[in-house]
Structure formats: structure tokens, C-alpha cells
């Protein structure tokens, strides 16, 4: 392979030193933090109407394209030469720097600096890795006075970290020439992050906790929102399972505990800090405006502070959202009174209550079949009364009286019957229950299909296998697979499966032994009955041979003949 030279690079790519010629961050190793809708929405709100934007480090292509399209003037810093060339070729108007962050000497600072992938991939193999605070210092130097920095920081104690069976940054992969985790300046918590930003001359405007995973964050929840007891309908979907990694445990339960213990900020997989650099004294905004947080989560029953009129001579302070939540293709903004779908959706309150799946799993753990029966019967009534056909136990909440779907209903071309809808919900629950290895009271059958039919029976709506087939089709049509088959099993799953198999084996052996005993007993009974029969037959034969029997037969015969003749004559 011919080594690339600066002659081959597109004209807008500038090599600044430390560039990695034979390296790409877009490959599978490590992978770029896969920001999507929530991050795009946040950037759209922070991007200045006029001014310069710099993207530091690798970002997903869709995000880069969006920024380039929106920003009046944009530049990108990448360490990988091939990535820089590809980007430069794709966006000829874009200024692309290729090299290490610490040596970037910008002519003019930027009004918005986006380093959402963090600082680790701004280091180059060409130089010893800089400490995190040094890199942050270099980054902060690129922010113009009054400008904004959006920085992603992966949490070393994130909830996704301590369930990894193989820690991701100890794999001796190609990008770990200086493995992460030994840098004392790396933030050891939200407070350390705040201090780090402060000492770099930046002031934090809002810090978001990104969930469910540091590689593919889907939801951003601000520190202010996390201080509240968030409803289950909001927090339940915030745990995801990455298919290709071996985990120690299912993240669902752990993530639920994190929120219940109000540690959502401390144990977030990733933080996204939005910080600003103080403006030059001439255009410093009013001190009162600085002191006031952009907005605060208000309980729904409290009056919200009226918007204060902004003086005309100052730029409008950007309203940062309390939280942004992606659910499939939909994006929602968390508001003080609830959630609203973006763009332009109506604000609606987040339904209260517990997630139905959790109630059922808990009832199963306690073998509380009564609760299961009552809840399923209630669910069946809800569906028959026109409940959402696309609902599932993992996307429904129940407040003790009413069911409410967390997600807006999905429109279907052909509306299925309530029986099929219920069957699909219960099938999905059965699959998830068995896949997660939760304890349950049903002795048999142990497969999801039969369990579904039992559950339908418990709801008082018996279903046939035909309904189940239609339910499975409906599930496929709705496109939310109950279980991702490519999931690697977690370590706890494996242990639980082993224990379960051992229990089943013990039970099966006990049943076989019982049936053997019964069989021997029945065989003995059969032998006895046969012997009795044979004895009776022998007795009967002996009886037939007796003189008395034969005589009585002989004597009976002439009488029979006489009777026949008499009948003939009289007839």
C-alpha cells in the first residue's frame, strides 16, 4: 500500500501534526459514540445563529452532516487521516483539521465546540496521551468568550460498566496503546467534572446523564430532572442490552435500582456537559440571568415562574431542555409538567403507576397467582374497552385502577380482535419472563407458547393455538421483538439456567422414580389379577368336568328340545 501524502488529501484537510495515517475511528474497534436524535436535538438548540462551530473527535456521520448543514461556518478535528480525507471529500466547504487536539492552533476561537465523543479519541499514537485535564484545557482554549462547549464524558463507574463480564478497555485492542483508567485527572464523579470544567475556565450550564449505554446513548436527563423521583414509565425503558457483549447481569434490574436510589447522575453511563466560557466584560450578561437556572423541574401543581422579558440588546439565552428521550424513532422532551413529542407535540403528563411487567414479575417471584389473575383479567377488560393494541406489559403502567400506555398507539391497517391483542401481550410477557429466568409458579408447561395459553386462561379469556399464531404475527407486524435472539447470555443467566436445569433434572428424576414405583405396583396388581383370572378359569374348567354339571346339562337338553317342539306346534 502506498502511504498517503498530503498531496492526496482534499484541499480542505489540514494536517496539524500527530495525525494517524493508518488508522480509522469509524471501524468496529471502540466505535464512535453513537449519538442520534436526542443529541441532534440538543445541538440544534445550542448551535449559534451566526458564529463558528468546531467538532472535536469522531462523531456519527448523520450528526456531522446536520451540524455542517446548520452551522454558518464549521470545522472538524480528527486524528485519523483516512477519516479526515473522507469527511473533507464529502463536505468540500468544511475545514478539516487532522492531528492531535493539543497542537491545534486555531486562528480564531469557536462559538460552539462539540466534543461529544469525549477526549480519549483526540489523542494520537504519535505522542504520549495527554491527561484529561490537559486535553480539556486545550479544548477550552478553542472556545470563544461567551461560547459554548458540549463535552461527553464517559463515567468509569457507569451502570453499564460494572455489569460487563469483560471490561471493554482492558481488551488490549489496537486503540488501547495507553489504556484508559489510570489517569488521575479523569473525572471521578459529577462534582469532579464540574470542578474540572471550572478550572478550565468554563461554567456549567447543564449536565445531562446519558442512558442507557455509553456507546449508544438514547436519552439525556438533566441533573435537575434526576433530583426528582422519576416515574417508572420514564425510567423503565432506560436500560438496554447491547447484543454483542457478555454481561454479568441483565441491566434492566440494576438500572431500575439506580433510579430508585436516586443515583441516576452518579451512575450514568456517560455525562454530557454543556458549559460556557465567560464573555468578555463588555458583553457580560446581567448577573441575575446567570444566577437563574435556565429552567427547573416544577411539580405539576406549582405555578411556573413567568418568563422574564429579555432585554433587547442581549442575545436570547438558549433554553436547554430538561431531558430528551428517544423511544424508537420518536423523540420526546421532558418538560416540567410531563413530556411532549418533538417536533411540535402537545405536552402530556407522564402516566403514573408501576410498569405492568414489574408487577407481574414480582407476583411471579412470590407465586402470587391471585395478583396475576386479577391483573390479567383487568388487562383483558382494558383491551376489550378499547385499550391500545400495540401495548405490552413492558410499555404499560398500572396505578392500581387504570392501565396507561407509555408510548402513543401505533396505527395498524387491520385492527386485530381483543383476544389476539391480549394473547400477543401475554405471549410477549411469557417470552420475556422465561428468557430473563425469573422464578414463576407454573410447574408446566415450561415453554412460552403453553405458558401464554395458561395466562390467557388465567385472564378468563381462553385462547386456542390459532389465536396464538395470529398474536405472533401481530407482534411481528408491530416490530418490537420480545426478545433479541442475538443477545449474549449474561453470566447470571448462565448460572440461573444451570441451577434451573439441575432443579428440573432433580424433579424429573423424582417423577421417574415415582412413576417406576407406580408402574411396579400396577404390574404386581396385573400379575395378581391375571393369576386370579387363571385360577377362576381353572376352577370353571374343573367345574364343567364334574359329574353334576354334565348331568344337569344332559338333563337340560331334552327339556330344551321339548320346549322348541312345543313352541313350533303352538306357533
Amino acid at each position: 500500500m502506498k502511504g498517503p501524502t498530503s498531496d492526496e488529501a482534499p484541499g480542505n484537510v489540514r494536517l496539524i501534526g500527530g495525525e494517524m495515517l493508518l488508522w480509522s475511528d469509524l471501524g468496529t474497534i471502540g466505535g464512535v459514540t453513537e449519538w442520534r436524535g436526542a443529541a441532534l436535538e440538543l445541538i440544534r438548540r445550542t448551535i449559534p445563529g451566526r458564529g463558528r462551530v468546531l467538532l472535536v473527535g469522531p462523531h456519527p456521520r448523520a450528526l456531522v452532516d446536520d451540524v455542517v448543514a446548520r452551522a454558518p461556518s464549521a470545522a472538524v478535528l480528527l486524528r485519523s487521516y483516512p477519516d479526515a480525507c473522507a469527511l473533507g471529500a464529502r463536505h468540500p466547504e468544511l475545514e478539516v483539521f487532522c492531528g492531535r487536539l493539543e497542537v491545534l492552533d486555531a486562528d480564531e476561537p469557536y462559538d460552539l465546540v462539540l466534543a461529544m465523543d469525549g477526549l480519549l479519541r483526540t489523542h494520537s499514537a504519535e505522542a504520549p496521551a495527554a491527561a484529561w485535564n490537559e486535553s480539556l484545557g486545550a479544548l477550552a482554549a478553542l472556545v470563544a468568550p461567551g461560547g459554548t462547549l458540549v463535552l461527553g464524558v464517559r463515567n468509569d463507574l457507569g451502570v453499564d460498566r460494572f455489569i460487563e463480564a469483560r471490561p471493554a478497555d482492558r481488551e488490549c485492542a489496537d486503540d488501547q496503546w495507553a489504556p484508559h483508567g489510570f489517569d488521575p485527572s479523569y473525572p471521578s464523579g459529577p462534582e469532579a467534572l464540574d470542578l474540572g470544567l471550572e478550572s478550565a475556565g468554563l461554567s456549567l450550564r447543564r449536565c445531562y446523564a446519558a442512558y442507557p449505554d455509553r456507546r449508544a446513548p438514547r436519552s439525556l436527563l438533566s441533573r435537575e430532572a434526576l433530583a426528582f423521583d422519576l416515574p417508572e414509565a420514564l425510567t423503565f425503558p432506560l436500560s438496554a442490552r447491547d447484543g454483542d457483549r457478555m454481561l454479568v447481569a441483565d441491566p434492566l434490574r440494576l438500572t431500575r435500582l439506580v433510579f430508585r436510589h436516586r443515583l441516576g447522575e452518579e451512575l450514568a453511563p456517560l455525562w454530557l456537559a454543556v458549559a460556557t466560557k465567560a464573555p468578555l466584560p463588555a458583553d457580560r450578561p446581567h448577573p441575575a440571568d446567570e444566577a437563574r437556572p435556565a429552567d427547573q423541574l416544577q411539580p405539576a401543581d406549582q405555578p411556573q415562574p413567568a418568563d422574564q422579558p429579555q432585554p433587547a440588546d442581549r442575545p436570547r439565552a438558549v433554553e436547554l431542555p430538561l431531558g430528551l428521550i428517544e423511544e424508537g424513532p420518536a423523540l420526546y422532551e421532558l418538560t416540567p409538567g410531563g413530556m411532549r413529542r418533538l417536533p411540535g407535540g402537545e405536552e402530556r403528563p407522564i402516566p403514573a403507576g408501576r410498569v405492568v411487567e414489574e408487577i407481574l414479575v414480582e407476583a411471579c417471584a412470590r407465586e402470587d397467582v391471585r395478583t396475576v389473575r386479577e391483573l390479567l383479567a383487568g388487562l383483558a377488560e382494558w383491551i376489550e374497552a378499547g385499550g391500545d393494541v400495540s401495548a405490552a406489559t413492558d410499555s404499560l403502567v398500572y396505578d392500581g385502577e387504570r392501565f396507561a400506555a407509555v408510548n402513543p398507539p401505533v396505527g395498524l391497517a387491520v385492527m386485530p380482535g381483543p383476544k389476539v391483542v391480549l394473547c400477543r401481550i401475554l405471549w410477549r410477557f411469557a417470552v420475556r419472563l422465561l428468557a430473563a429466568g425469573h422464578h414463576h409458579p407454573w410447574p408446566w408447561p415450561l415453554e412460552a407458547d403453553q405458558l401464554t395459553l395458561t395466562l390467557c386462561g388465567m385472564a378468563g379469556r381462553p385462547c386456542e393455538p390459532g389465536d396464538l399464531d395470529r398474536a405472533r404475527k401481530l407482534d411481528a407486524e408491530l416490530g418490537q421483538p420480545a426478545e433479541l435472539t442475538e443477545h449474549a447470555p449474561t453470566y447470571r443467566d448462565l448460572l440461573a439456567a444451570r441451577d434451573r436445569l439441575a432443579d428440573q433434572l432433580t424433579a424429573a428424576l423424582a417423577r421417574i422414580s415415582r412413576l417406576e414405583t407406580k408402574l411396579s405396583y400396577r404390574e404386581r396388581e396385573l400379575v395378581r389379577a391375571k393369576a386370579k383370572l387363571r385360577r377362576t378359569q381353572r376352577k370353571a374348567t374343573a367345574y364343567r368336568r364334574t359329574l353334576g354339571y354334565r348331568l344337569s346339562r344332559r338333563l337340560a337338553r331334552p327339556r330344551k328340545v321339548a320346549r322348541r317342539v312345543f313352541r313350533m306346534l303352538s306357533g
Partner: protein
């Protein structure tokens, strides 16, 4: 499965509830609790309840206790009695109920109880005001001495019959007969808490527990004896017991809240042929 599943016509009642004929009750794949019990629904020596088969118990306390004693696979369906009440809401209902039906604690085919029936009969005569019906287990009913000790005091002596089995229809109407008798009496009483008392309380009888509780010849210590029953249900002992309270305890002990649906029972009992992988 086990013979006790078919005692007192239990399997037939459940079969009728599930829409099956009660002529030839099907085998229940599991073990049905056949009487009220304050251990785990089964006798202490329940080695015949093989693991891997469910134990169909009446109330959650039995499940919890059983679990703590190493038993698994409980499934709560409530007592067969509640299914009988569901099927026969009107059977034997009388506007004017009178008298007391008295169930002296009984032994069974393999264990007899020791106690003085004559002394007990005297005590009953002293306490009860209206007519008294004594209901004996068939073993005691067959004993003329025991019958005489009650009959001589003017009591009517009856027997609900043998508990029967899967193959013979003897016990098939046991609970039905009991229901009719309970619904014609105002009071139900015994010298020990037992199924009959809770059955009575569940159909509106007043409850009383008094008299010599009598002893099994080798009563198992696991139950904790009469003293434990007194500690657990002090409110149910005495010649006069709060009727509402007794009905509430009966509802709990008989598991009225755990009534399963017919389809569920068919599947749990293995009465529905299913494909197994």
C-alpha cells in the same frame, strides 16, 4: 396421581367446574390438598408428594410455610369447597336455619383418636340450646358404642359417608351432603378447628370450638398441638365466636381469593393435552 386427590369428591367437583363429566374423574397431575391444615397443606411425612409435581394448596400461608420447610412447586387454587359453592349457590339453602351441627374430631383409616365421647356429649348437651346433629366420620359411625353415647342424649347422629376414591363413587357426594347439612343448621361446632368448621363459617354458620380436643394416638409434633392452634386462632375458640370474624378467617383459610379459572385448572391439572417439546 395420588388417591387423596379424589377423596370427598374433590376431583369430581373440580372436573365439573372445568366442564368435564363427573362419572370418571381424571387423574390430577399433582397433589391436591384434601383438608384444612396448618402445616403446609400436607401431612408432615409428605414424601409421597414427589418433587416436580405441583402441590395445589388452599392459602398462601401454607405456601410460605411449605417453602420455608424446603417444599417447592406450590400452586394456589383455594379449596375445592369454594368451587362447590360456585357451582351450587342454591343447594340446600333454607330460610330458617336451626340447631347445631357438631363434628367431633375424628381419626382416619390408619389412626384412631382417643377421647371420651360420652363426656363430650354431656358437654355439648350443656352448651347447645337447639337441636343438635352429630356428624361422625364413617369409622366412628360404624362403632355402635360411639353412636350410642350421642343418640342416648337425644342427638341426631349422621354421617356424610366414606371419602371414596377415584374408582368408586362412594365419596362423590360427600361435600354436597355436607353443604346441605351446613346450610340447614345455624351453628357449626367442633372440639378442634378443622375443615368442617371453616366450611360452615363460609356458608353463614356461627362457629364454636369447645370440649376435649382429643388426641391422635401418635400426633406429629410438627403441628405444634392444640396450644399452637389456640395461639394462632384464639378468636375462634370458645362456645360463642364472632360470626363475621369467623367468616373472614374462613375466607382466608379456604382461599376464596385464589379461585382459578376453568381453563387454568385444566392446564395445571394436565387435563388438557398439550404438545410438549
Amino acid at each position: 396421581m395420588d388417591e387423596s386427590n379424589h377423596w370427598y369428591g374433590h376431583s369430581r367437583i373440580l372436573g365439573t367446574y372445568c366442564g368435564l363429566s363427573d362419572e370418571a374423574p381424571k387423574r390430577i397431575q399433582g397433589f391436591l390438598q384434601h383438608g384444612w391444615n396448618y402445616l403446609h397443606g400436607f401431612p408432615p411425612n409428605d414424601h409421597w408428594c414427589s418433587p416436580g409435581y405441583p402441590r395445589f394448596v388452599w392459602s398462601d400461608v401454607l405456601r410460605r410455610r411449605g417453602w420455608s420447610m424446603g417444599r417447592r412447586g406450590h400452586y394456589l387454587i383455594g379449596a375445592p369447597w369454594i368451587y362447590l359453592l360456585y357451582l351450587e349457590p342454591e343447594l340446600g339453602v333454607q330460610p330458617d336455619r336451626e340447631g347445631t351441627i357438631w363434628y367431633p374430631f375424628h381419626g382416619w383409616e390408619k389412626h384412631s383418636v382417643s377421647g371420651d365421647h360420652a363426656r363430650l356429649a354431656d358437654e355439648i348437651r350443656d352448651v347447645e340450646i337447639g337441636p343438635v346433629t352429630i356428624c361422625l366420620y364413617w369409622l366412628e359411625y360404624a362403632n355402635p358404642d360411639i353412636r350410642r353415647s350421642y343418640e342416648s342424649r337425644g342427638f341426631r347422629v349422621i354421617c356424610h359417608g366414606e371419602r371414596g376414591s377415584r374408582w368408586e363413587g362412594k365419596g362423590r357426594d360427600f361435600l354436597r351432603k355436607q353443604l346441605v347439612e351446613l346450610r340447614r343448621h345455624r351453628r357449626v361446632a367442633s372440639n378442634r378447628l378443622g375443615s368442617a368448621l371453616f366450611y360452615g363459617a363460609s356458608v353463614g354458620c356461627e362457629v364454636a370450638v369447645y370440649g376435649d380436643p382429643m388426641q391422635f394416638e401418635d400426633e406429629r409434633p410438627e403441628y405444634g398441638g392444640t396450644a399452637r392452634r389456640m395461639r394462632l386462632w384464639p378468636e375462634l375458640h370458645g362456645t360463642h365466636v364472632d360470626r363475621e370474624l369467623a367468616a373472614e378467617v374462613a375466607r382466608r383459610e379456604l382461599g376464596f381469593e385464589y379461585q382459578a379459572t376453568p381453563e387454568e385448572l385444566r392446564r395445571m391439572f394436565g387435563w388438557k393435552r398439550v404438545r410438549t417439546a
